[in-house]
């Protein structure tokens, strides 16, 4: 059987997005085939208009460089982008992202990856001088510039020792296209997309990433407008026409820039109801009230289940009333999270433990040792 036993009947099915993620807490490498097998169980949740993967630990040779995966819709944008990159960053290595011809994928964009570091002067002044000159903020600015100013070029991912691979197709077709069987990572996430109210295009497939954050999402962010305007105040530009983009930037803002612990950041995105805050102890009441006041514009409204990965861990979170499914499983040092339990049992037939996290209750998994 081919992975992704997609309907021999090939017609439109009523469905919703599917997501899955794996992490080895010991940082052991997991082969690409594993995540492909898992996501392919949920072809029914997508409709072939978007599939994608994020993988961590795949570029050990350049692990101290930011790996920019850039998608070119138009080959004319390549010289423009590369000219900009040569000015903006130091490129240690660049190459085409290997792809193979896949029958179902017609007219794909062109993909390059660049392993870069900010200019030397950024290193010297860094954090002390100003926020702008922090190395990671400099990379964010570079990404935002390419996405918003260079037509036809989009940064698909920009973290260290990680990368996103995504496009229009079922996840297993995208995996085939990018030859993901050749990669090994200690964290993987994957997504089968069923676009509802935003276009199914290559940049709109999941995961959405920034630096080493990557998000896959099932649902719909109805608060997109509020979230987007809030993020714009901090220099984020939403250019990818899909609601999920705001989740990525919001986590970057709350966790990396504002220094919130992951659990608290999750409480800002899926904050407890006032009726539940009322029942908390004084400390909890104070904290949650403050969080809701300060980060009211970070609240995500609408149904969602998300997996967000970063270089040190994997987090699963569903909305406050659980309008989208999320299941987690554990076996030894492996943790699995997915929309459906079958996506876990497909790659781990006998998990030690399976559980369904409560609404708004994050499942936070961290690496045992630094990778």
């Amino acid at each position: 059987m081919k992975p992704g036993i997609l309907s021999p009947y090939c017609e439109k099915d009523i469905s919703a997005c599917g997501l899955t993620g794996i992490i080895s807490k010991k940082g052991r490498k997991i082969k690409g085939e594993v995540i492909i097998k898992s996501i392919s169980c949920m072809d029914e949740r997508g409709n072939g208009l978007g599939g994608g993967f994020a993988a961590y630990g795949i570029y050990p040779d350049y692990k101290n460089h930011y790996a920019l995966h850039i998608m070119y819709n138009d080959k004319k944008s390549i010289p423009v982008t590369e000219e900009y990159l040569r000015e903006a960053v130091r490129i240690a290595h660049q190459e085409e992202i290997p792809t193979r011809k896949v029958k179902a994928i017609v007219n794909p964009p062109y993909f390059m990856r660049y392993f870069v570091n900010p200019p030397v002067e950024i290193h010297e002044y860094m954090a002390h001088e100003s926020e702008e000159l922090r190395e990671d903020n400099y990379i964010v600015k570079t990404v935002m510039h390419i996405n918003s100013e260079i037509p036809g070029a989009f940064v698909v991912s920009s973290g260290k020792n990680m990368g996103a691979f995504k496009g229009v197709g079922f996840a297993y077709q995208i995996a085939d296209f990018f030859m993901l069987e050749n990669y090994e990572g200690y964290i993987w996430t994957a997504h089968n997309r069923f676009p509802t109210n935003t276009p199914g295009w290559w940049g709109g497939a999941h995961p959405f990433t920034l630096l080493d954050w990557s998000i896959v999402h099932n649902g719909e962010i109805s608060s997109y407008g509020i979230n987007k305007r809030y993020l714009e105040m901090f220099g984020y530009k939403c250019t990818l026409l899909t609601d999920t983009e705001v989740v990525t930037y919001m986590l970057d803002l709350l966790i990396r820039r504002h220094g919130l612990p992951i659990k608290l950041a999750c409480s800002a995105l899926a904050s407890p109801f006032w009726k539940d805050i009322k029942r908390m102890d004084e400390g909890g009441k104070k904290l949650m009230t403050a969080l809701r006041m300060v980060y009211g514009s970070a609240l995500l409204n609408g149904p969602f289940a998300i997996l967000f990965a970063h270089s040190k861990g994997l987090v699963g979170l569903s909305d406050r009333v659980k309008l989208r499914p999320l299941v987690a499983g554990e076996k030894d040092d492996m943790v699995y999270m997915a929309s459906e339990e079958s996506a876990i049992t497909a790659i781990c037939p006998n998990p030690d433990k399976v559980y369904r996290p409560d609404a708004g209750e994050p499942v936070i998994v961290e690496l045992e040792k630094q990778n």
Binding site: S7, K275, A346, R356
Partner: protein, 244 residues
Amino acid sequence: MQINAAGCHYRTLNQQIKDAVKRGEKSIELLNVNGQRYIGDGISGETKIIINGVPGNDLGAFMSGPTIIVNTFAQDGVANTMNDGKIVIKGHAGDVLGYGMRGGKLFVKGDVGYRVGIHMKEYEDKIPVIITGGRAGDFFGEYMAGGILILLNLNNEKPERAVGSYLATGMHGGVIYIRGDIDKYQLGEGVGIVELKEADNIVLNKLISEFCKDLNIDTKSVFNKPFKKLIPVSKRPYEKLYAY
């Protein structure tokens, strides 16, 4: 008969099941099921289907008569709009079980997720029953219009939380029995907690004995704690919502 479901698309698998039911097979055992949706949907008759592996969403939807035994656990949407028959799950199950269920029985040994038994309804002798051995999430019995929902809260890792919030919000028919405590904040609008009467004990005894027999549970371990009974205080809880 046995059907090996490994690598089988759900439509191919379900067609084989339907053909077997049509031929009058009395017992069908499915092997290596993993995520195939809609198993047993819309079938009727007396067949018994035994599932090994993890059945996909909407197991037994619109089913009218057969029995399904799941040896492991199940996902979301089991017994969606089920009309008659019985589904027994030996592990836990997911969200939105028994949505709009109109008859038959659904027994789950372990925990269940959110929105279980919402929109259940009954008509004359068609009274759907859902019994859950573990705990349940929010919106248990939301908009319930009929039928019987029983939550046993056994082997609960979080015993203080037998059931979530918005319990039976908008309930206007049927009855819910919960073994354990309920805090007032969990209760939805328009629901009242009342004392159990003799008739309730007869119903509970009968149904729980059947549940315990099917799932190998000691009946005594269930009746060592009192039950709470929930009923609607109004047949039309939202009648006056927009009429002032």
